[in-house]
């Protein structure tokens, strides 16, 4: 289930989520990528901005659409030692959301702060 991989090198990874959770596969497959990457002892950061903030909104229900509601899985990230979650303040505000609407603990950063953090990464993967 997990690959053996040892390099001793620790790089700063950031996964940037910008899309709504349903309608395209990106949000789910980014989440799968994050869960796998947890096994490689890298410095993993996850950011939610633009419509990506909806991915971690409380109270999701996919109803009869047949799509899996994978929002509970974001709460499993902590158990995978992925605790550096960031949300862009402006993206929340533009959508009338606050931190209280989110289903995981996050650090809310301004657009400028998030851009700064992003520039410190070795690798930024966005979808």
């Amino acid at each position: 289930m997990e690959e053996e991989f040892e390099s001793g090198v620790v790089k700063k990874f950031m996964y940037v989520n910008r899309k709504v959770p349903y309608g395209t596969i990106y949000a789910l497959e980014v989440l799968e990528m994050i869960l796998i990457s947890a096994a490689f002892d890298q410095d993993v950061h996850v950011a939610f901005l633009d419509d990506g903030v909806y991915q971690i909104k409380k109270g999701q229900s996919t109803g009869d659409s047949g799509m899996k509601n994978f929002s509970p899985t974001y709460r499993a990230l902590e158990g995978y030692d992925i605790e550096k979650l960031y949300v862009e303040k402006e993206s929340l505000e533009e959508r009338g959301l606050t931190e209280a609407d989110l289903l995981v603990p996050v650090e809310v950063l301004s657009r400028t702060e998030l851009a700064q953090l992003m520039s410190e990464m070795d690798m930024v993967l966005s979808a």
Binding site: F5, S7, K11, Y26, M33, F40, Q42, S126, A127
Partner: protein
Amino acid sequence: MKFAILVNEGPYNHQASDSAYLFAKAALDRGHEIFRVFFYYDGVLNATRHAEPPTDDRNVGRNWQKLAEQHQLDLVVCVAAGLRRGIVEDTLAPGFRISGLGQLIEAGIQADRLVAFGD
């Protein structure tokens, strides 16, 4: 420079695969190294052996295969994304191999730059 390439879109619904291919070709022509090309999301569809696009247009999958042959490129398809879309050993074109997402993480660690193609 040592590059890793990530292809995130299907071969014909998006320019990403063409751009990634042309980027890889240009980089190799200038003497750079491509550590690995990793296919994720609909990008895995680049690796189907069953594509037969009209012959008066480019063949995206074949382009990858030829480039891989010329330069011993490592073309890796994500197993989980492939399973979801029917890209498995039986449907895999020559020149590609199926493996885990760890191969992408490793490519990111080993390469000087990881260049992602997609939205």
